[in-house]
């Protein structure tokens, strides 16, 4: 840590986001009353649905009631600030679930392949090769295209393309650890394979991988955002950063001349939050990589 001040910045950013996620209901409460009569559309039992304000084409600029302004009115003018705050929660949820599940599969298969070796290893690694033969985002797109766009499918798709790299990572470390003297020593004192795997190899490989993988949360969020940007994500009024940018996209690109700058807030704010979120994780991760990577370690 002390070697790399950037990591402190990263930590700060992440803590900030955790704060936002926790305090979401306070920072961005649902409108007290909503319904057609007040011209506010919202779902009182699902806070992730962004309240919409009317159907005019042009977005509303930032104002006291809409600090970050609103999206253009298709399907409705959505309050960007609200979307961003609840989007934070969404980001954490998505990232942690995806990375977590991918990691579980990765460690399990990796250990198996690395320690048992032989035929099992061959099979697992072939499968991994096959999975890695697909560009992650593109495979995810295929999944979504096939099974329809929904948050669940999105997460499944990304997790499905994410685990193979972990298997490779874990297996590599296990193979390295297996050659270490202390494993042979353990064998010499009569330890069983199971014990060696659990007591000696696992502790020596798992920590770095968990730490490194936690940094992938950022990357996952990035992929999910990209997908929803392509319109393959969640329902348009669902609190999701990528979705918010998507809502304004065609709208901007269409504009020629100055006035597309006039609506900067519609894409700058959501994008900025994605960027910060991912940046935070990467800054942390970078520091850890330096600590864990013997080549760069000082």
């Amino acid at each position: 840590m002390k070697q790399n001040p950037l990591s402190v910045v990263g930590l700060a950013i992440i803590l900030m986001f955790i704060g936002i996620a926790i305090a979401a209901p306070v920072l961005a409460p649902l409108p007290a009353v909503c319904g057609p009569d007040v011209g506010i559309v919202c779902d009182p039992n699902d806070p992730y649905i962004i309240p919409g304000y009317g159907y005019q084409r042009d977005p509303l600029p930032p104002s006291p009631e809409h600090p970050f302004g609103t999206t253009p009115g298709e399907p409705a003018r959505l309050d960007i600030y609200y979307g961003i705050i609840w989007g934070t929660r969404n980001a954490f949820r998505v990232g942690i679930v995806v990375v977590g599940s991918a990691l579980l599969i990765g460690i399990a298969l990796g250990l198996l392949a690395g320690f048992r070796g032989g035929f099992l290893d061959e099979v697992i690694m072939r499968i991994v090769d096959i999975m890695l033969a697909f560009p992650a985002l593109i495979l995810a797109i295929a999944f979504v295209a096939a099974f329809g766009a929904s948050l669940q499918n999105l997460m499944i798709a990304v997790a499905a393309v994410w685990w193979p790299s972990y298997v490779r990572l874990v297996r590599g470390d296990v193979l390295a650890a297996r050659e270490q003297g202390y494993v042979e020593a353990a064998r010499a004192i009569g330890a069983s394979d199971f014990r060696i795997m659990g007591r000696h190899i696992l502790p020596n490989v798992i920590y770095p991988i968990i730490i490194l993988s936690s940094m992938d949360i950022g990357a996952v969020v990035l992929v999910i955002a990209a997908l929803s940007f392509l319109g393959l994500g969640v329902a348009p009024n669902y609190a999701d950063w990528g979705g918010l940018v998507n809502l304004t996209r065609n709208y901007i690109v269409g504009q020629v001349g100055g006035d597309s700058l006039a609506y900067w807030y519609t894409y700058v704010y959501p994008g900025l939050f994605i960027f910060l979120f991912v940046l935070g994780w990467n800054l942390l991760g970078d520091a850890f990589r330096d600590i864990l990577d013997p080549k760069v370690r000082r």
């Binding site: 010499a188 004192i189 000696h200």
Partner: protein, 453 residues
């Protein structure tokens, strides 16, 4: 000691490692790391194995514990059930769980203490683990409750403190920790080291920890695999002395493996000299150093530097380097480097090929020899030479070369059995030989060399 039943009887031990290659990564060749070694180790003695790197000495040690599976031969081990050796078992045959239990009494100290200690375990855990695995029991006094120190432990011994009877108790919690501390204290570490990680120790201390771990199982036999070669001289002295003391106290039997003759001399009673997977000479240490028989042993003794400027001399040279153990030389494996080699030492095609290549290299471009050889192909005892464009001239040159060699009396040329010519191919074949086997030429002094047959 002599009459006693050996603790280990190893017969014709072989360990071969595959070299994977080709498109399907199948074994394309075998490394003959250990290639038919037989020896015995008697209780209480120290057998030293000395040899250059890659001679297979380490593999022998690992094979005794079956850390590497032996390809052939048998390892008869007489596990000393409470002091008295019981019926010997063949370690290379018994099932793995049984083997795991037997490892209690056969332990090993590795060369590199840093890698042999798990970096994520505390010293306490490292030392305690073996006892946990084997569920060791200690003797506790029924009266004063003190645990009998490890080196006194015998079944049914009276409590050294109060003389009351003792009972066996499984090691747990306090008992276990007490024993760990006792052991650490014995090797010169103290309780405050219990809760530290290996990387906080110096090389010497790490090796002490490793020794403690091995001792904790009260083994009868220790393989010491270059235990000090990664340590400094002063620390080496500490460790070697410690090992000697421990051997006396716990009546241990050692197999001491090292490349350093001086160290082996200090530690061992009997010494085996190993070369390319074979024992070439085995003798009591006095014998070996005062009257070395095998040319290789002699060579070693002359080439090692002596720590005494008064005995400074031009260092003797042993020609060449250790050949690859993948396809060891025919007959006596040392013959290509042997200063006193004889015609029947096992000369073969590639030896001559090498000689010819060098000769051609030295030869001036206008000498007949230079153009004589188009291509050489050695297989086994024969060397096939596709001779150069001008057959008569080439053939003559080769004959002359061989004749000259014979005249001088160089053994390799005298070993040639027959030379024949088939078309443009000139075939030279050498006489058949067998490997010299290890024979006792003097009581307690065996050597594998034709000089003594």
């Amino acid at each position: 000691m002599m009459g006693e039943e050996p603790m280990f009887r190893v017969e014709d031990l072989k360990v071969h490692f595959p070299i994977l290659g080709g498109i399907l990564k199948r074994p394309i060749a075998w490394v003959h790391a250990v290639d038919g070694v037989s020896f015995t180790i008697r209780p209480g003695e120290t057998l030293g194995i000395v040899g250059e790197s890659g001679c297979g000495k380490t593999t022998v040690g690992r094979a005794l514990l079956q850390l590497v599976k032996s390809t052939g031969g048998s390892i008869w081990f007489a596990p000393p059930a409470d002091g008295t050796p019981s019926a010997p078992v063949n370690l290379s045959k018994i099932p793995r769980r049984k083997l795991r239990r037997l490892r209690r009494s056969i332990q090993i100290i590795f060369q590199d203490p840093t890698s042999s200690l798990d970096p994520r375990q505390l010293v306490k855990a490292i030392v305690a683990e073996p006892m946990r695995i084997h569920g060791l029991t200690g003797l506790r006094c029924t009266k004063c409750g003190s645990v009998v120190p490890i080196h006194l432990e015998r079944p049914g011994i009276a409590c050294p403190r109060c003389g009351a009877t003792t009972e066996a108790v499984p090691f747990k919690g306090a008992q276990l920790e007490a024993r760990v501390i006792e052991l650490l204290d014995r090797v010169g570490l103290n309780p405050e080291h219990l809760f530290r990680y290996p990387h906080e120790f110096s090389g010497g201390q790490k090796q002490r920890i490793a020794i403690t771990r091995a001792l904790s199982l009260r083994p009868a036999f220790l393989v010491l695999d270059e235990p000090t070669s990664s340590l400094d001289v002063s620390v080496q002295a500490q460790i070697l002395n410690l090992l000697k003391d421990l051997q006396r106290e716990y009546r241990l039997t050692y197999l001491f493996i090292s490349h350093n003759l001086a160290v082996v001399r200090y530690m061992a009673n009997r010494i085996a000299v190993m070369y390319l997977g074979k024992f070439i000479e085995v003798a009591g240490k006095g014998e070996l150093f005062d009257d070395p028989l095998h040319p290789y042993t002699r060579g070693l003794l002359e080439t090692i530097p002596v720590p005494d400027p008064e005995r400074r001399r031009e260092l003797a040279l042993m020609k060449g380097e250790v050949p690859s153990p993948v396809s060891p030389p025919f007959g006596c494996r040392f013959h290509p480097r042997c200063p006193v080699a004889m015609p029947h030492c096992g000369w073969e095609g590639r030896d001559l090929q090498k000689v010819l290549e060098d000769a051609i290299h030295e030869a001036s471009p206008d000498s007949p020899l230079s153009g004589a050889v188009a291509e050489m192909q050695a297989d086994g005892r024969t060397l096939r030479i596709r001779i150069g464009p001008d057959p008569e001239r080439s053939r003559a040159a080769l004959d002359a070369f061989l004749a000259e060699g014979r005249a001088v009396g160089t053994p390799i040329y005298q070993a040639i059995e027959e030379t024949s010519q088939q078309g443009d191919e000139f075939v030279i074949s050498f006489r058949e030989t067998r490997e010299p086997e290890l024979k006792e030429v003097k009581p307690g002094h065996a050597v594998a060399c034709y000089l003594y047959e």
